[in-house]
Symmetry: C2
Subunit: 793 residues, 2 copies
Amino acid sequence: MIDQEQYQVDPWSLPERELRLDLLAQSESVFALSNGNLGLRGNLDEGEPSALPGTYLAGFHEQRPLPYAEAGYGYPEAGQIVINVTDGKLLRLLVDDELLDVRYGQLHSHERVLDLRRGVLERRVHWESPMGRRVRVSSTRLVSFTQRAIAAIRYEVEVEHAARIVVESDLIANGNTDDGGSADPRAAAAMGAPLVARASFAEGTRGMLAHATRESGLLMTATMDHVIEGPPNLTTRAEALDDFARLTLAADLKPGQKLRVVKLLGYSWSSRRGLDSVRAQAYAALAEATHTGWDGLLAAQRSYLDDFWDRADVEIDGDPHLQQAVRFALFGVLQSAARAEGRAVAAKGLTGTGYDGHAFWDTESFVLPVLSYTAPTAARDVLRWRHSTLPAARGRAEQLGLQGAAFPWRTIAGEECSAYWPAGTAAVHINADIADAAIRYARATGDEQFERSEGLELLIETARLFAALGHYDADGGFHIDGVTGPDEYSALVDDNVFTNLMAQQNLRAAADASEHASQESQRLGVGAEEVGAWRRAADGMVVPYDEGLGVHPQDADFTHHAKWDFAATGDRYPLLLHFHYFDLYSKQVIKQADLVLALHLRGDAFTPAEKARDFAYYEAITVRDSSLSACTQAVIAAETGHLQLAYDYFIAASQMDLEDLEHNTRDGLHIASLAGTWIVAVAGFGGMRDHGGTLSFSPRLPRQLTRLAFGISYRGSRLRAEMTQRTARYTLRRGPALELIHHGRPFSLTTSDPASFPIPEITAGEPPTQPPGRAPEGRESGRRAAAEQETPG
Amino acid sequence: MIDQEQYQVDPWSLPERELRLDLLAQSESVFALSNGNLGLRGNLDEGEPSALPGTYLAGFHEQRPLPYAEAGYGYPEAGQIVINVTDGKLLRLLVDDELLDVRYGQLHSHERVLDLRRGVLERRVHWESPMGRRVRVSSTRLVSFTQRAIAAIRYEVEVEHAARIVVESDLIANGNTDDGGSADPRAAAAMGAPLVARASFAEGTRGMLAHATRESGLLMTATMDHVIEGPPNLTTRAEALDDFARLTLAADLKPGQKLRVVKLLGYSWSSRRGLDSVRAQAYAALAEATHTGWDGLLAAQRSYLDDFWDRADVEIDGDPHLQQAVRFALFGVLQSAARAEGRAVAAKGLTGTGYDGHAFWDTESFVLPVLSYTAPTAARDVLRWRHSTLPAARGRAEQLGLQGAAFPWRTIAGEECSAYWPAGTAAVHINADIADAAIRYARATGDEQFERSEGLELLIETARLFAALGHYDADGGFHIDGVTGPDEYSALVDDNVFTNLMAQQNLRAAADASEHASQESQRLGVGAEEVGAWRRAADGMVVPYDEGLGVHPQDADFTHHAKWDFAATGDRYPLLLHFHYFDLYSKQVIKQADLVLALHLRGDAFTPAEKARDFAYYEAITVRDSSLSACTQAVIAAETGHLQLAYDYFIAASQMDLEDLEHNTRDGLHIASLAGTWIVAVAGFGGMRDHGGTLSFSPRLPRQLTRLAFGISYRGSRLRAEMTQRTARYTLRRGPALELIHHGRPFSLTTSDPASFPIPEITAGEPPTQPPGRAPEGRESGRRAAAEQETPG
């Protein structure tokens, strides 16, 4: 855990006023820069000390064999794993022969600021060497949103007394990537030197290293160039070895003089093209960046972000921490995906090696709902990436004896990499989640071209999977057996409600889309008979209900199981590190929202009374051992009127990484939890839903917030919603008129005519309770929140 | 598959008239000799050619790490694996410098006979060297039942023309153990040179090698001595290196002369004692064997087996193949366990490295029912071995958050070695199976001392496990959720009927035994309250029933699942090698008897009508991909009156290894299937049941058999049951009077008064059908059997 004082509160930036080495790993994740294609962890310029040095290229991975003591048919033999590629961030400073290292000498001040509007990480260091030489170093780092292959660093040095200064600017491959061999299964597998040298070069101010991965055979090139301003006596030398290219600058610096180095980095990689081509691409990107220049890159970055914030900014009045956190979150989501363009968006984005750099359902179920309404082009590209993996998914379906496509539970390049199938291959809901994202994107954008091509094929192939997977009972009920839902403390269950409802939507959407684009669907082999089969399966889809308890069981048998013994659990969380799955699976204990996520994503399938009862039931047994839970609990807490609870979950979701609530921010940011922060604001307190064809809002603010406003991109329009405790106001800032719904009341919105509506009161029942110690702590301390919950609300 | 002609039909031996190199691996398993402590695979004397050279010591194992690509809490980190220890079987012959190798020169004849009464493997070779030298070699090999550390080989050479003869008699450690790296998960893990040399010695006619395992740190010693008779010019030389001790004999042999070498082997091992002690023990055993001499060892072997056959022989008239097979089976079971004395009895006995040499529930559920009635001392020793592993089982229960003992699914020394928990740790029925074996042994022997000590503790600790594992519903029903029953094509199910019924028996027996031995149970912490809790759980135990189908579902949800698509399956058996568990687990398809095994072992819990319906239902979906199935299906087929089907399953069970029906006899014999052969004879056609306190028989023969007779050891008495098509006759050959039941009719039996009863007719319904191609083929061809089944019986 990181206490709240680590970062200063600021609406548009994340300022760190002190370097804490015990939090170095977390800060490397929090200060990571990325554009979805290239990612740099927030490592210090000088490379050391570091916790996990990291430079990542989306999709660039190594293969490793997946070992099984007891193997089985269809177990994936090879895993894919993100690797730390050639490090170009390195700028080492020597002052009179002494290496700037914050662990030695005296660190008079050390400030870092992540600027969310400028899209840069700034660092200011005032350091005194062990020999007493004082130096001021400032660096500004960016990963360009406008030039996807480019990162740049401006590095400036000033001295208080004349000193000999040397700056070493490196490209280093196969640097130390040891992550300490964590036993936590959520961390990544360690991997030694994964890169094989293919070419290197250094001359003038430029350098280049080309490498290939040993097993997966991918080629990459890192290039660097430098623009140097300094005292007249400055000399440089360039050199390169296999894993190493360096530009060394030496100068005598006097007080008042400044040495300024702008380091430009260009990366490229390919799985198909040859060395010449990959290398040429990196050089070309570098040439373009050099041409643009530092100031040009900075300006373009600002302009890109200005446009993003204009579309998507979320304003929160009444809680400055939340204001900061929600913008940090949106920025993080954007960074994870903006320029991924045909590559996977991983659970940790490009901020660390957690989960081996794999993409899961997080992308479609948490990240894409944000992107579809804030950066639709990025959303489309993610879906295109999924679409590009269809051959592997079809192969997997065939291997499993199914039809259509079975998308992998975890992957980088499209092949299933999950080595524990009960919580991997069995989690077939990912296919319906992909369909859900495709449906949402198409509805949110009206992107007819996508709908008739990639979107259509994704819907058809996933519908085929569910049609083949389920079976009918004698009464015509359609069942999907032996699957694992989102909650990973259950597995291999029958009729998981979330899976069934999402599959139902999938089947219907595939039928609708196939009829809508009948020529295209015929080309994909879909006829009336198949469409009819999908509709029949959807109509017959079984949604279990426990009459005795008056709630939906998470699956057919869930509510018949023993309840978890919370009293005996103590503080042994997360449970998965202290209890065997054998124990967890057979008990009523929930790792993360599952049925409650169905209440959100398939809210159209439940009555308000059912939602209230279901939510209360599952709150009491949800331990929130996953980062994919607080936001969903917040959304349903808000919908059912438990606004204090929703607020507390909002804080929990928004602080996941800023306070390192799950103790694994070191491995990278929880991108889905960042997305979840936006989801709480927009779907929770804004009450936005996109069931069916019409966007609806049912806003309602917790007492702590005086105002909430957010922007939505919708079918080419820019909509802004703004709400206070009593009133909601909708403004169409650009684009054609929209039909919307406010608390059940349809209305039209045009650019000329904003609409305002009162927010109706809600009478919520008694606030639900959580397992002991598992209530969200909230800003006003867990105890006080708990006490409040005991008072009927 | 091996055709029936490979072995000649003989009632008391298994003669092989021809050496087939393509069946070498299988013959090594079939001709393996063992006494439960020491096992020698049936490798050729000269060592090569060989498929899997093997010498095994019960319990002697190496550790290896168990790898997981995705690990979890409570996953075992180390596996135990049987290793091929120092090979003492080797006797290499050189004839005029040419090595006797059946692959070269000319093999005029090669005969091997496993003699089931003498307990020896005999081999006669008539070979002509590439240079035209003819030689006759005969060897007789035994592993002594009376001296458990001892094996002996008599090796005789005669020549047709004068020749120079050399015999090399070796001890070799770390010989080739490569098993070809089979991808079949049922095969063993390969392991390189597992033994580290500790001492070696050779002098005169003796040799010794002492080794330790690298990781598990176990110490072993192999010793040899020789008694040589030969021509006067014979010379010998002894030598030893680290992994190698050799006695070389050289002689000029003339026609009419004979070179005879008796090689005596003594083995010892320990996990605790030091080198001197282990070595001394092996020498002492060798000294005793030398003192006994070859003829003495042979005579003692015969005498031991005469006594065994007198107690236990099964006679079958009407099918000479079955007669041979059932005696081979009984001999194999005896070999697996006779002198294990505190070590595990592995699924493959000591005949190969299949399943890594692990012991499973097979031992208690298949082997011990045989031993309890034929070699009760051996049965007791196996249960004592289980009892000795209680500390590990208690630790495992604690790790799983349970009470009592959780015995491992697979192990050598007591620790859980299963790396796939859904079909390992979740198969908690093994605990009830152990209890069942303890109950049966105690009832069969009246061994009060065992009942009050090891037996009591086994019952108590397993009952504690189930009491902690289950939970009550609102109606007082006791459920056991999330477990895996015997059928490995289902996993993690609720209320598996087999598990629940076996647990019910376990709980009741623990309660009864605790009250019976109240002082002893109090010392184990059992009070009236705990006994009451066990009885309450047993009384409330839920046994699901499908009212719609009128059958017991295998588990709460089983009959709601889709049926397996047999039409689309083709010949892709065993299914586990062609279909993903994700597919198998959610369908109605059965690998091996599960509910049907409950019909046998808890037959008291079902009505005859239920048995008939249940059996028919499960027959239609049981594919028999496990060797642990045919025998149980035979037993229930017989009980429900389907005698032709029972007979066909009898053949399938009895020929499992003789015909290599599962294509893995190379890895070792299926000891449980051998045991199952006896079970079919005695429990199937003899109809013997041991529910409650009274032994009952309901004999009924298939039309092919004119007579069946078998011996039963029961509470110190020797009972013989003999039945024809119409009549059963019971004879008490020794011991106090017995109360027995024949077809529901109680009667008393004394040594003076045999009893005869008519066998009532039974009218069975239509014979059940099996999945296409999965009916037992029977002796009279699969097609004919199938045709018969189509005619209502």
